[in-house]
Point group: C2
Chain length 188, copies 2
């Protein structure tokens, strides 16, 4: 039996990321899980306008997305608990820069992307920043022949209902492959 | 050591969903994992213009998002292998309707959302449909006191690099909580 939940967002889990920007001349990071893929070259991050970081993204037109591993859950959650207006959150990390000069990235995060702001959607309470990826970085130990090894990355998956952080489980099937058995039946 | 990957999207894993729409008068479903949360009331789905379903979403201004469980991986992958222009993909599922008349939903998916199209971002190869959630539905056995039990839902998580489908792992920490130990230290 289905139960109606009202107009509720159920699109979870999503990967928890640390969004980096230069705000008032200093690097800052904020924890966001309301993210998405816009196309192969771009991503979205939805940030409530109460956040300190939004102004920096708008001013510089750049930001970074850093994907922390489960080992960094304390630091990651901390960056969602406090505002950069009161705490120097960048001091918790080793920060590095890539191609862009105003997209600070976190060394200890296994994956980083530096992004150029290409569009901002203005929702009632949120700025949705759409960023074009300029360059991506991966810890060598998280790479395998086919590309990124997400088991080694160990992303922190987020669900809103229970305010939960979850691990990635096992890889159990191949996309564009496991459905072929049904396709073969339909073709008969 | 970090390795540069070029302008590559690393924002994975994301939940695999079945996007439903009425196309040429009939329900159709397509598998999409390039999704995101725009705000508490809205979601994005990025769909290459080669897809048959895009025209139906544009025509009716509605679509559904259905979250399949790992038990449905064969049917889910099948809907990403074939086009609705050639195969009647809706015949694989029991279809139901909610408030909107043109947002077909899949009974066997533990979670469903019906959405009103509010904006379309035109990327070079993709239509990014932004939908406002009108109503959500959850299988009763996937609900617990705090809301949706994602362990019971069993979403199919997708990674592009290895074309992989993954299970959700264990819930290991509380958001807005586990970082407090670091906050206490910083306050000292």
């Amino acid at each position: 039996m289905k139960k109606q939940l009202g107009a509720r967002n159920c699109l979870y889990p999503l990967p928890t990321v640390l969004v980096g920007a230069i705000v008032e001349g200093k690097p800052n990071f904020v924890t966001i899980a309301h993210v998405g893929i816009i196309d192969l070259r771009s991503v979205s991050v939805s940030m409530n306008r109460v956040h300190y970081t939004n102004a920096g993204i708008k001013e510089n037109g750049t930001f970074s997305i850093n994907i922390p591993s489960v080992r960094m859950v304390v630091e990651t959650d901390y960056c969602g608990l406090v505002s950069g207006s009161k705490f120097d959150k960048a001091s918790v990390f080793d920060v590095f820069y890539g191609v862009l000069e105003t997209a600070p990235m976190i060394e200890s995060c296994p994956l980083n992307m530096e992004c150029k702001l290409v569009q901002t959607l203005e929702m009632p309470h949120h700025d949705v920043f759409i960023g074009e990826i300029v360059e991506a970085y991966c810890e060598e130990e998280c790479l395998e022949e086919g590309g990124i090894d997400y088991e080694a990355v160990g992303p922190i998956l987020f669900t809103m209902d229970d305010k939960g952080y979850w691990r990635l489980g096992e890889r159990f099937a191949d996309a564009w492959e496991v459905g072929k058995e049904l396709l073969d039946k339909k073709r008969e």
